[in-house]
C-alpha cells in the first residue's frame, strides 16, 4: 500500500519536500512509517519534537495505516 506523508515548517525544510509517497507493507503502523522516514531522511532528527496527524487528526504512533492514508509530521505549532 502507499501512504502520503506531508511536511510543514521546519520538517518540510529538513526533508526538502511538501509531501512524500511511501510504499509500506499492509497493516504498517504510524510507528513503522516514521522508522522508514527517519532512515531515509536522517536530518529529520533535527526536529526537536513533533506530533503526527492521520487524515487531519492527531494520532497515536501505534495507529494502523491503510492505503491512501495521509500522515502529517506536525512540528511544535506556533499559530496565533
Amino acid at each position: 500500500m502507499t501512504i502520503i506523508i506531508k511536511f510543514f515548517a521546519l520538517g518540510r525544510e529538513l526533508v526538502g519536500a511538501n509531501e512524500l509517497h511511501v510504499d509500506l507493507p499492509e497493516k504498517a503502523s504510524v510507528h513503522d512509517a516514521l522508522e522508514r522516514l527517519q532512515t531515509e531522511h536522517p536530518k529529520l532528527a533535527q526536529l526537536p519534537s513533533f506530533l503526527v496527524a492521520l487524515n487531519a487528526e492527531y494520532a497515536e504512533r501505534n495507529a494502523t495505516l491503510k492505503n491512501g492514508d495521509e500522515l502529517a509530521i506536525i512540528p511544535p505549532v506556533s499559530g496565533g
Binding site: A9, P48, A53, Y58, A72, P75, V77, S78, G79, G80
Partner: protein
C-alpha cells in the same frame, strides 16, 4: 454559530465583530493577535505563517465547539491569517458573543489559548540576519 476561516488577505476585524453581534447578546469579547516588531529584543522584519489548512480548520472548529459547550455563547468567529505578514498586522481574530460578559471573556481566552497549542499553524520570524521557525513548546 461557529465560523472559522483561514485567510491570505488582511483580516477585517470590524466585519468579524459584526458577524457575531446579536440582539440576544449583552457582551462581545474580541481578541486580536498582532505581529510584534521584536522578539526577545531582536527586531522582527516580517513573519510568515504556514498552515496545514484542512486540519487547521477542523481543529479550530473543534476548539470553538468545546467553548460553545462549556460556556453560554451565541456566536463564535475565529479567523487566522497565513502567508507573509508585516509587523503591526493582525494574525488572528477571535470574537465571541454571549448574553453575559464573564462567558465572553472565558470562552475567548480558552479559544486563543487552545488554538496556540493545537492548531497546525507555524510562524517563521525574519530578522535582519536570518530567519527562524518559532517553537514555543519545543
Amino acid at each position: 454559530m461557529i465560523d472559522v476561516q483561514l485567510s491570505e488577505s488582511p483580516l477585517d476585524t470590524a466585519a468579524i465583530i459584526a458577524s457575531v453581534q446579536d440582539e440576544r447578546c449583552g457582551a462581545v469579547d474580541v481578541f486580536i493577535g498582532t505581529v510584534r516588531n521584536q522578539t526577545k529584543g531582536k527586531a522582527v522584519q516580517r513573519l510568515e505563517y504556514e498552515v496545514y489548512a484542512p486540519m487547521a480548520l477542523k481543529v479550530m472548529r473543534e476548539i470553538c465547539a468545546e467553548a460553545e459547550e462549556r460556556w453560554n455563547t451565541i456566536a463564535i468567529a475565529a479567523h487566522h491569517r497565513y502567508g507573509v505578514i508585516e509587523t503591526g498586522d493582525i494574525a488572528v481574530v477571535v470574537s465571541v458573543s454571549t448574553p453575559h460578559r464573564a462567558d465572553a471573556f472565558a470562552a475567548c481566552q480558552y479559544i486563543i489559548d487552545t488554538l496556540k497549542e493545537r492548531v497546525p499553524i507555524w510562524k517563521k520570524e525574519f530578522f535582519d540576519d536570518g530567519e527562524v521557525w518559532v517553537m514555543p513548546h519545543a
